[in-house]
């Protein structure tokens, strides 16, 4: 069985994330680039399936700039067997439609039984790529899972909904995505980090994927950003220390602001 895990390098959510109004894209210099934490859970889900079965291989796949290889190295250090890095300058600024097209081209023809992704990235938060991939690859879609189990040609799990969860099952091949409630990711061990350096890592350009460069990147995206404006920073208002009447003071503040 062959599993592909999609990983993405994103600005650290604990850093000061910025957008550049001039280029209307994420300012990748503003916060440290890290593997998206949800992707570590996707890798964990893949590794647990690998450990529970025989002959399972896990391939980490990313699309991103040169530095995004660090996200792949993390996945390899955790235990993935190989990695694919789609790296092409023309891809900068791609939207979900374009990203899913490029990923689909990289995944198609490799006989993956299961594609595992995070449910949504912490930067774009579109949560669209897994569903788009299922559509493009003609695979079943079983997304927003907090548990993932593979048995006898199908994948099943608990899918989160607005007011609870459903149990669902899909035939393989399938695209699944995991939520932050899925299994806690392992930390890479020293041996894993050393072994990762010797694992196969393939770098692919758009041309090598057989995709035309003229349709890639922000200039050719389906959804086009016209303007980016920073919201004025919030400033601190009144802060009082409770002298025994603070609860009443809050009520008076809310009443004065006509909020109650």
């Amino acid at each position: 069985m062959k599993i592909a895990v999609l990983v993405k390098q994103v600005p650290d959510t604990y850093g000061d994330r910025r957008m550049d109004p001039a280029t209307r894209t994420v300012d990748r210099g503003s916060a440290d680039p890290v593997i998206d934490e949800i992707n570590e859970r996707a890798v964990e889900a893949a590794l647990q399936i690998k450990e529970a079965g025989d002959g399972v291989t896990v391939t980490a796949v990313t699309m991103g700039p040169v530095r995004a290889v660090e996200a792949l190295r993390k996945a390899l250090a955790m235990g993935a067997d190989s990695a694919v890095h789609i790296c092409d300058d023309t891809l900068a600024g791609s939207d979900a439609m374009q990203t899913s097209e490029v990923l689909a081209a990289a995944l198609a023809g490799r006989d993956f039984d299961l594609v595992i992704a995070g449910n949504e990235s912490t930067d774009g938060r579109t949560a669209a790529v897994p569903a788009m991939l299922a559509e493009r690859l003609g695979m079943a879609q079983l997304t927003f899972l907090r548990t993932v189990t593979v048995s006898g040609g199908s994948v099943s799990g608990e899918r989160m909904t607005g007011n609870g969860y459903v149990e669902a099952q899909a035939p393989l091949p399938a695209v699944v995505s995991v939520t932050e409630q899925s299994a806690e990711p392992r930390f890479p061990k020293f041996r894993g980090i050393m072994a990762a350096k010797k694992k196969p890592l393939q770098t692919l350009t758009l041309a090598e994927l057989g995709l035309p460069g003229g349709e890639a990147g922000g200039e050719n995206s389906w959804s086009r950003v016209l303007d980016v404006t920073a919201r004025p920073a919030r400033t601190a208002g009144t802060v009082v220390t409770d002298d025994g009447t603070a609860g009443t003071q809050v009520a008076e503040y809310l009443a004065a602001a006509k909020l109650i």
């Binding site: 959510t13 579109t126 299922a134 559509e135 099943s156 959804s223 919201r231 409770d242 603070a246 009443t248």
Partner: protein, 329 residues
């Protein structure tokens, strides 16, 4: 006039409460029309109801297993409705997981732009103008569809007003058998909507609790204040991780993003992860015993104090004001 198709989600014939807003938003862009996917023999009253909410046309797909298959019946019905309508200027859906995923797949199937989690919409001479927020409201982004029919998911509470009622014409769709490989729902574990509290994403007031509450038992205090104010209940990731409350209540970067009129943060330090989900609230009130908590940097009114003494007093004051019959609002 070209039509704007709205995916009208319903639970066994009961329309979800974002449908009226979706139709109002559709009216800004063209003639509102609704698309309904239902089990055969159910939801007979939906067409009339959607007409009252402004739909001039209702495309109905009767699909065996509509409730059992994940997302694919909605994608097929939307694609069939777009084909049947002929002239379509946009497709609008809500922000439920099912709706967003159906929209994402529809965009691929149509060859169209997908505009996600939109908070405002307007028609422009060269197409739709969609306003989105990035990084938890730190940036406002204006986007448009460069190519194809824009497929848009609209965040609740974004577009005020309602569309004028219409006499809805019902059009039956024959989306055909479901050819797409699909996941099947084998069991449902969903809470009955017994809560009388407003939905988190749509609430005018949100009261959230953090690790400062200390335990699941103490978290009741958050609910008590929420009920006194008619508010929704939220939580920080720390409170959810500690097991004080359900994951569905999580507000923040990795939870729900809210933009209510009033946000009350109880025992929440205000880590950047949390702020990313609530900093676009109009007014923020914070109560925390740590004067150095970052939540005070963005609070309009902050109290350095113990939530277990301040909040009960606040609840009492709120109830007292309501008891004297001061008009709401």
């Amino acid at each position: 006039m070209s039509q704007v198709l709205v995916l009208a989600e319903h639970v066994q014939g009961e329309l979800k409460n974002n449908v009226a807003e979706l139709l109002a938003a559709a009216a800004r862009l063209g003639e509102p029309a609704a698309v309904v996917v239902r089990q055969p023999g159910t939801g007979a009253q939906l067409t009339a109801r959607l007409g009252e909410l402004g739909a001039a046309a209702v495309y109905v797909a009767d699909v065996e297993e509509a409730d059992a298959l994940l997302v694919t019946p909605q994608v097929a019905a939307l694609a069939a409705a777009v084909a049947a309508a002929g002239d379509v200027s946009a497709v609008l859906v809500g922000t439920s997981i099912d709706s967003r995923e159906a929209a994402a797949r529809l965009a691929v199937r149509l060859g169209a732009a997908f505009l996600s989690d939109v908070v405002d919409l307007a028609a422009a001479p060269d197409g739709v103008r969609a306003t989105q927020q990035a990084f938890g409201g730190a940036y406002t982004v204006t986007a448009t569809a460069a190519r194809g029919i824009p497929v848009i998911s609209l965040r609740p509470n974004s577009v005020p007003g309602t569309a004028p009622a219409a006499q809805a014409q019902e059009i039956r769709l024959a989306p055909g058998p479901n050819m797409a490989a699909a996941a099947r729902i084998t069991a449902r574990h969903e809470g009955q909507a017994v809560s009388t509290r407003p939905e988190l994403t749509a609430a005018d007031i949100v009261v959230s609790g953090g690790r400062g509450l200390g335990s699941a038992e103490n978290f009741v205090l958050v609910e008590q204040l929420a009920d006194a104010l008619g508010a929704a209940v939220g939580a920080s990731r720390a409170a959810v991780d500690a097991g004080y409350c359900a994951h569905t209540m999580q507000v923040g970067q990795t939870g729900t993003t809210v933009s209510p009129n009033l946000y009350l943060a109880l025992g929440i330090s205000g880590a950047i992860q949390h702020r990313a989900g609530m900093q676009s609230a109009k007014t923020i009130v914070a109560i925390n015993k740590d004067p150095g908590a970052p939540i005070f940097e963005i609070a309009d009114f902050g109290v350095v104090g113990d939530v277990f003494t301040v909040v009960p007093q606040l609840i009492e004051a709120v109830n007292a004001r309501q008891a004297v019959g001061s008009p709401a609002g």
